[in-house]
Amino acid sequence: MRCSYGLTAIPGTDARFFSPETSFLQLRRTFQPTRIKFGLFKIKAKIDEARKEMSFYELLGISERGTSLEIKQAYKQLARKYHPDVSPPDRVEEYTERFIRVQEAYETLSDPRRRALYDKDLALGIHLAFSARRRYQYDEDLEDRSEWKNRWQSQLSELKRRSRNRDAGGNMSWGARMRRQREELSKEL
């Protein structure tokens, strides 16, 4: 279930939807790429922990106003440094972890849409974990699309149900009146 990614901190909306789960926050200390289920409602205090983590900008070593060119350059530099193939053998794991993070940072910051979202969250003090953020993509994957089909099918059946009662005597909209008139005329013929 990937519920919480869709419910970001939008000012003025219900806050209880936005807390990430505790367990995955702890996960960030020891990076594990396994998928974790997290629920909708959790303690928000854990987010303070998130603030101590490095933001993508700090990770890449650029200012928050960096241009896409700067981001690209920083990424290339760091990628070359931390790539598993060129990292010193005793620090492979640590370097690989950094490499993956750098890559994720670059993926988010190079796409202006995702960067905009990330900046917004950062401003509000919420820094979701990398793995959680990864799912916050607006590129639809197949799962989403099959979801869509279910959704519009139910919407269509609802439409059919509604239309049965639509022009009942109580409905005084202009369109309903015209339709009734037309039905009566065709009945007369």
Partner: protein
Amino acid sequence: MALCASSFPAIINWGAASDPQKSTPFASHFLGGSDLVLQPLKKLNQVKKRPGGAYASLSEGAEYHSQRPATPLLDTINYPIHMKNLSVKELKQLSEELRSDVVFNVSKTGGHLGSSLGVVELTVALHYVFNAPRDKILWDVGHQSYPHKILTGRRHKMHTMRQTNGLAGFTKRSESEYDCFGTGHSSTTISAGLGMAVGRDLKGERNHVVAVIGDGAMTAGQAYEAMNNAGYLDSDMIVILNDNKQVSLPTANLDGPIPPVGALSSALSRLQSNRPLRELREVAKGVTKQIGGPMHELAAKVDEYARGMISGSGSTLFEELGLYYIGPVDGHNIDDLVSILKEVKTTKTTGPVLIHVVTEKGRGYPYAERAADKYHGVVKFDPATGKQFKGNSATQSYTTYFAEALIAEAEADKNIVAIHAAMGGGTGLNLFLRRFPQRCFDVGIAEQHAVTFAAGLACEGLKPFCAIYSSFMQRAYDQVVHDVDLQKLPVRFAMDRAGLVGADGPTHCGAFDVTFMACLPNMVVMAPSDEAELFHMVATAAAIDDRPSCFRYPRGNGIGVQLPPGKKGVPLEVGKGRVLIEGERVALLGYGSAVQSCLAAASLLESHGLRLTVADARFSKPLDHALIRKLAKSHEVLITVEEGSIGGFGSHVAQFLALDGLLDGKVKWRPLVLPDRYIDHGSPVDQLAEAGLTPSHIAATVFNVLEQKREALEVMSSRN
């Protein structure tokens, strides 16, 4: 189109897309006279095998060739009625063929590619399910109507797209009965569709009305006005929201793709990824189902309430306006589209329904998909490589010069800000955005808001430059009059695409801006005759701080004069024109780009022994009275020339001449303006000739006034 299975000895590689390994020869065409051979299409596993030959198939390998692609199924379709017996599988193949046909046609003529590619499946589905022309299908803006035109009897004319006497680049009622409403400016189809639906209801008919509108066009207020009314009237109609997350044009700035502008886009995006809420809704539905029976009304209310509460903030917006929301739907899946449209069509009494279709701009042509601007508007290109054949020019466009001038002014004055309405590329303000990201505002397709927004900025002491096309400024006219001019707020209007605009045609033609701007009491109205003058006028506008001002410049490139040093203009004296050539007897007083035509006319007349005076008025308001008096008193003939409609510069000059008593003397005064009809799309040269404002026409007018009819005919017939 015969499919021959013979192989060809000579195979020419087309760029990177070719792969010389076992290509199965499948079709061949010789382009008359040319010695190029169509490379046989590589058979990949997507090619459907059918008795009689293989088919054009768009694979990821994406081979596109300069010859017309084989389109066996599309060849059998001349009108939508020919589609009615196809199976859904055949519809899919038809979409692919239609797509390749669109790419081929646009590569030969130029035009709007990305948007047309995005709606191929939607067009096929609509024409399959509905019965145009009795059912009305409206295309907002119209630039995505190329597949629609191909399917509705105009395929054989696609090579004339956007050319003189050819197909229009937008839908046009006079062109075909399948184009039920003319579009060009955005956000009009829901309004027009509602009008057609209500008309149908009043007449007691039963046809369907479908309005296709994009998410960009949804940012305009008129769409909401229409939806609000549609929800209230409750008339049956279908609105298809074509959502490709591209709100502004170009769909990218100079550094890469830009996220869509406005809060609505994020609302629409949220609609697409709504999972947790949907699950909650399923639960609610289950509950209402169990109530059932005689409680169905109550259950319906519960469901409606639950639906509104949990179906996401975006759909609630449409629901609140009274439109039944269905979606999101994959806009490239014909199965889905056909089944939804069929369902909605067969449901009686739906009221207004909104189907949210998600498409991808440029889909199916990899170069377009990958390009930052999604190949929104292209010139002729090579389909195999995607390279456009852009001409080389010594000078840049007026748009670019304007942007550079504004940047130079903004460097010196930090109060200068720029506003545009979803046209960052078209107005050149993407350059400004790159230099001053905090001082450039894109408001979406909302010219009215842009003008009043600028007025608000001016109240705070900033210096707003509103860059809006002359034709789009028509939308914001009340705001210009009431919010800006009446209060005398110093908003500067930079009107690009003034005068005739070429291939886009009358929908984008900027004929009226001098007329509607110069009649306003407080407005300063000016027009540069070349790019250096443009720089100076930007500086002048920046300097005018006590009243609104505007200036207009045409589409096209500069003429090659020297630019002011540092690309920063010097403010001109307001209300002063200049004389370019001193002559006698006849004076040509030009306004804006027409001055160049006057100069050309003068050189034409040199050979006939006439030495004309040519003057550049620069300002239509306030007029240079001294200059006009001088010209009127010392010449026999005074001709004013402008690329605008009646009521503009020429009329202001006429008013002044009359009030000043200058018409009581012996001077003959003639105005040259755009004719009192809409000039159809075509090449700029053809349009100018059609309008009667070429240098030859001006010269002929001079001869006519001087009673030298023979020379007039001579000059008109010898023009090339």
